[in-house]
């Protein structure tokens, strides 16, 4: 068996395992879906209360696509945390699987899971608000979702080292990164309302460009070819953040093996 085939098979192990876990925790998944729908509705209703159809669409897109990006981020970032909780971390790390195959498998499932989840939330919100999406360019939205997923994979992989290094509190630290990204990325408001230094920070968040692109596609029907200013930063971030995340994870794994932190269950 070639190395590539072996690693792809190993990646599929994580996809299948996560699918089985989703299936077994179906009650939790259902509750999480309701929570996501309720949260997106609550935010979007601010637009309705203001009587602005455009504000409503801006908030709907912000709520739904932030939900997608944060799901991808959380799923990957919590790869280690989850295994610590189940007590399987050592078993997985002892298996003859390269770390990129493990993280690729987790990322593929995270994107698939996020897309299904987001599609359900989008459908519910579209029906609830009777949204007019006849002019929407879904190809643009899809392209930005894929591009944004790459960057969020990189950030998620880097964030996954926190539960590896900090056994008790690493999981909570992941939420800090998530909340900072939420703050600076213009999810529910334009970044122009942020202080100057925060606006500067927002340029380093992939979510800023994803939300710009998706809003332009879904609200104005802009094709992706006209959104190069949002595309290239995402390409650069994806190309930099994934290798950087992998490198960081490798260093953290080495640290955990030196200090014995794979053993402990948080």
């Amino acid at each position: 068996m070639t190395l590539m085939a072996r690693e792809l098979k190993a990646s599929f192990a994580f996809v299948e395992r996560n699918f089985n876990l989703t299936k077994r925790y179906w009650g939790w998944e259902f509750a999480w879906l309701i929570y996501s729908i309720a949260g997106a509705l609550a935010v979007s209703l601010i637009g309705r209360s203001e009587g602005s159809e455009r504000l409503l669409l801006v908030l709907v897109v912000g709520a739904i696509f932030w939900n997608f990006l944060s799901l991808v981020f959380e799923f990957i970032a919590e790869t280690v945390q989850w295994e610590r909780w189940e007590g399987t971390l050592e078993y997985t790390f002892m298996a003859p699987v390269r770390r990129y195959a493990q993280l690729l498998g987790s990322a593929i499932y995270a994107i698939g899971y996020g897309l299904v989840h987001t599609a359900v939330v989008l459908t519910v919100l579209a029906l609830f608000f009777q949204l007019d999406l006849t002019h929407a360019n879904f190809a643009t939205a899809g392209a930005f979702i894929m591009l944004g997923s790459l960057s969020f994979m990189g950030i998620g992989i880097a964030a996954a080292i926190l539960p590896l290094m900090y056994v008790e509190r690493g999981g909570q630290m992941v939420f800090v990164i998530q909340s900072v990204l939420l703050l600076v990325s213009g999810v529910y408001y334009p970044i122009s309302v942020l202080p100057g230094w925060m606006q500067a920070v927002s340029h380093f968040s992939p979510a800023t460009y994803v939300l710009d692109g998706v809003r332009a596609g879904l609200i104005q029907g802009t094709p992706v070819t006209s959104l190069f200013a949002d595309v290239w930063p995402l390409l650069v971030m994806g190309a930099v953040l994934i290798p950087l995340g992998m490198w960081t994870f490798g260093r953290a794994e080495r640290y955990a093996k030196r200090t014995g932190k794979l053993k402990r269950v948080g």
């Binding site: 068996m1 072996r6 098979k9 190993a10 599929f12 192990a13 299948e16 395992r17 089985n20 876990l21 077994r24 925790y25 189940e86 007590g87 399987t88 050592e90 078993y91 997985t92 790390f93 002892m94 298996a95 003859p96 699987v97 390269r98 080495r254 093996k257 030196r258 200090t259 014995g260 794979l262 053993k263």
Partner: protein, 297 residues
């Protein structure tokens, strides 16, 4: 003043590696450990604790090699070092000639480990957990399922139970599934880290019989850490006694008894061997552990 224990200990520590025939010496050992040391920094003051201290072992292919030691003696750390779950501070470890640090992936392909706590996704069924394990090791999931059914049937778990979540199974059954999972990948070096601790007598007997069967029918070398002296005596070809991270004695069960026969006066048992070399009783140690668990709960 030099006590009998000191004399025996110093002889044991000074004793060279086990006597090997020229053929054995030429053969690549299943596991070679040379002067292995591992330290951890513990507490706020980062106090260094030596968990494994200058340990050397040479385990031949096909052997069942027992490691006996009290809690905190370094047994599990030693197993983790061989399993690539810890980095070495000093020394060298080779599995079938592959260095655990430089050829980590090659080592991972030929080993598997069963730990004291059956580490599973408890919401998943045995079938789902075993399918995950099979894919990690590059096996075909259908072949793996067939093999798992065969192994689990041998361990007394019927096919109809393979679809239920593991959390609904007893601790003994979970441990049997853990053994099946390890065997599924046909490891040539199987690391059993207290596989029968906490099992009921029936499950313990099933697992022990299965280990004996593996020795006879599989081309596997087994390293077994245990608290159970009867188990060690029954299963192991050779036994090393580990105390405070150091190997204080190593031989066949009979060989160990012979070492202390003169000083002991009557027919020695493995318990008396353990007490002589470590200065403590393994039963006391387990009692302490149980008490600690009760206190914790």
């Amino acid at each position: 003043m030099t006590t009998v224990l000191d004399q025996v200990n110093s002889e044991a520590i000074a004793r060279p590696a086990p006597r090997l025939s020229p053929a054995d010496a030429a053969e690549v050992p299943a596991l070679l450990v040379e002067h292995l040391t591992k330290r951890f920094m513990v507490g706020r003051k980062r106090k260094p604790v030596v968990a494994v201290n200058d340990v050397s072992l040479r385990i031949r292919r096909g052997e069942i090699y027992g490691i006996l030691g009290a809690n905190g003696s370094g047994k599990s750390t030693l197993i983790r070092l061989v399993s690539t779950l810890l980095t070495l501070d000093k020394g060298r470890v080779e599995v079938f000639g592959h260095d655990v640090q430089r050829e980590e992936m090659a080592v991972k392909r030929v080993i598997n480990r069963v730990s004291v706590d059956a580490a599973f996704f408890k919401k998943l069924s045995p079938h789902e957990n075993l399918s995950y394990a099979a894919r990690l090791y590059g096996m075909d999931a259908r072949d793996a399922k067939r093999e798992a059914i065969r192994i689990l049937a041998r361990l007394g778990i019927g096919e109809k139970r393979l679809g239920r979540p593991l959390e609904q199974m007893s601790r003994g059954m979970q441990q049997k599934v853990a053994i099946a999972r390890a065997l599924l990948t046909s490891p040539t070096l199987l690391l059993l880290d207290e596989p029968t601790t906490g099992l009921d007598p029936r499950s313990k007997l099933d697992v022990q019989s299965f280990i004996e069967e593996m020795r006879d029918s599989h081309d596997a070398t087994i390293v077994l850490t245990t608290h159970d002296l009867d188990e060690a005596e029954r299963l192991c070809d050779r036994i090393a006694l580990l105390n405070d991270g150091r190997i204080v004695a190593e031989d066949t069960p009979d060989g160990l008894k012979t070492m202390i026969a003169d000083e002991y006066g009557k027919e020695p048992t493995l318990e008396s061997v353990f007490m002589t070399f470590t200065g403590r009783s393994l039963d006391d140690d387990i009692g302490e552990e149980d008490q600690n668990k009760e206190d914790d709960s």
